[in-house]
Symmetry: C2
Amino acid sequence: MNRDICERIAIYCDRNRLFADGDGVVAGLSGGADSVFLLWFLAKQQERWGLRIQAVHVNHGIRGEEALRDQEYAALFAERNGIPCRVERADIPSLAKEWRMTEEEAGRIFRYQCFERVREELGFDKIAVAHHRDDQAETVLFQLLRGSGLRGLGGMRPKRGRIVRPLLETGRREIEEALEREGISYCTDTTNEQGQYARNIIRNQVMPLLKEKIQPMAAEHIAGAGTHLQEIMDYIDCQRDQVYTEIVRRDRGRLVIDAGMFEEVPAVIGREVILKMMQELSGGCKDITAVHVESVESVFRGQTGKKVMLPYGMAAEKSYEYLLLYQKGTGIRQKEGRYSQPQTIQLGSAYKVPWRGRGCCDIVFYKKTVENLLELNLKKHCTKCFDYAKMDSMPVLRYPEEGDFLWLDRAGRAKKLSRLFIDEKVSRGERKDMVVLAEGHHVIWIPVLGRCSAYYYVTGDTRAIIQADLGKIRFCLS
Amino acid sequence: MNRDICERIAIYCDRNRLFADGDGVVAGLSGGADSVFLLWFLAKQQERWGLRIQAVHVNHGIRGEEALRDQEYAALFAERNGIPCRVERADIPSLAKEWRMTEEEAGRIFRYQCFERVREELGFDKIAVAHHRDDQAETVLFQLLRGSGLRGLGGMRPKRGRIVRPLLETGRREIEEALEREGISYCTDTTNEQGQYARNIIRNQVMPLLKEKIQPMAAEHIAGAGTHLQEIMDYIDCQRDQVYTEIVRRDRGRLVIDAGMFEEVPAVIGREVILKMMQELSGGCKDITAVHVESVESVFRGQTGKKVMLPYGMAAEKSYEYLLLYQKGTGIRQKEGRYSQPQTIQLGSAYKVPWRGRGCCDIVFYKKTVENLLELNLKKHCTKCFDYAKMDSMPVLRYPEEGDFLWLDRAGRAKKLSRLFIDEKVSRGERKDMVVLAEGHHVIWIPVLGRCSAYYYVTGDTRAIIQADLGKIRFCLS
């Protein structure tokens, strides 16, 4: 039976080209059933692909005795299977505080950072993680609930960059049964069972309810729908890219389509093309909504002369022969560090912000999705991140206004900006140069003071962020 | 505000072309919030499309006093809005028994039959039902759990044949709030809140859990994903049909593709083409699974000479230049009413079954999905239906064997076939001609005796059936 399950997983790996001959693989090893099984599987199949394997265990410094037990077991288990194991230690509670995240989220990010560091050190090729079909079902369901669009609904990929997931079509139960047959023990993380995070509620309350009362195969079915959807959406992407290349061209910063050509494009693909145009122009706003796409579509398919203003400073227009999408005032940027009126930030553009008499600082804003959180170095002083989902519109850079406020903590304790300036001893003269990033009267960030509103903090639930990168402070003509 | 919601729904109707000018519309009117709102909306917008409207209320004969109250309120409400109302009465408990279904399912079928009858009588064009966004979310979630494939995952359509659903993008809460603002009361069906059916569990347990603990907008997001998926899958269907017409041809009952042409087809579309070929050849087995499609694909993309046997008597083969899908022994059918060995039924083929010395009966088997249940006349003596989901393979026609049994009731009380024959006074001589439909030793149906195993009864959860149509009993050479 274990030969069966191993063979099935190996076929899955081959079908998805997870491993190439001679690959070096870093395998995450928590000591729990899934990662123990994964390492056992990799060790068994080492020759099949001529793999070099390195296990990495991360002790999160949270669960004390229990964590130590896991660490020792992980090291022992790797050794028994002839695989070298590296143990990494962290102080996740502190990191979580520093990064302003839940411990769960900080732990996840730190773990992947460790894997990546070890991989790079060893010059290895892949990082193997133990997500299985039940994890996948939870992911798909979670994405469905949060309305992430059909692409997100596909769930995790068997392969994403260097990360591979050999167990993605294997059920939790199968894994545990295989371990039992093999007489392999594993650690159980007692904190897994608790928690009010959406993912834990799905795992511990929703999925059991669905399986017991509605459909025992719920997890298989949900994960299966995800896989099928991945394929379908890859095909749609492919069709869209082909059409995009054929009909969209760039002309002086504007995106232009010949109106007659657009008419020939099927509606579904047309909307995908519009979405891609908006993403390209807005610097990667991945979650421009269907409403925006529809309004551009209505312009493109409407009467000539029709025009619509869009978020992120974009506009769409139909002339007789052409369909246009462009940034309002393309190329006109805030160069002088003076803000005569609120400046809606454009992603990817640099803004000069006066720096308390010491010159100017160039600030560039980006939008990133949560997958990229891994790559963020949240400790860097020159980077600030804000939860994009909390924003109803693109924020503006401007001078302080009457009524401005920010949150001091996540409980919603607010403070007037004028009061904060007094406390921070900002002189009246300085205040007029004190550029803030704001949404309405809610001040998101005061760059010079390094203060952020707690309302926009990045948390475990954050899926997309606006990131501000600060350049060197330089003398400038302000 | 009510102008807003009405306008929004009217735009939805126009966008989906639910009504044409001068349409006659039958509107289901239970007296509950949703149908009351729908009728109110239609009455308000009557002039917009020049509609003729007929309300139809169905009294299920279940809830006694409460049902009478609903009936009276429905009639009154329609009158107040200047809409004629027809009241239909049924004895659903008896019908449910007769049709071997839950009362819920029988009620649903009877209701639609009433609507359709009235529509036909009046020569009207449409039947409007009050499904709203929360119903849609429940449907999508239900389909996701039962693994119905991406097409089923799209949920209900705004328009399907003559049935239109104007409220499909409107939330339950909005509807209730609009009624409140308008001062319109409605009836509450107290049985709605109960029940162990999957749909009720989703409505009363799963959705509230999701909304309260994970995402307040869960229903909107789920329904939205469904709508988007409908569009995407329509596009995929369109692409598939185009490719199908181009590359698949029929040759002496076999489906043939030029191997070189198939290579050019993208994998996703190729699999859809294979699925459609299998459906066409098997007579509409809509739920041929991905496994079958994959095995045909591996043949079509494999070495020449490769061949695979498939369910429903099909086979796939690759020759040098051609890819073939065909029924094994196409055209060879059981003509003599003798069954020298078990005969796996082929859908759409006629089988002669000896009829207790009185001649033979032609029986044809079909597979139908649940949507078609409406069209079934379950009362007809010449039609038998069995729950397809209960079958692990296509059943066979054969003579009785040692060990045969059937279920007497749905609780699983079984009876040996030999014992049944004794009780039914079937002589030993007759037994050898007593053809049965069976799966393994489980006897699904004894045509001559009209006995079915309760295990295969059609219930409210049935999504697909095998239907047996009995012809006239004729003298035949058996």
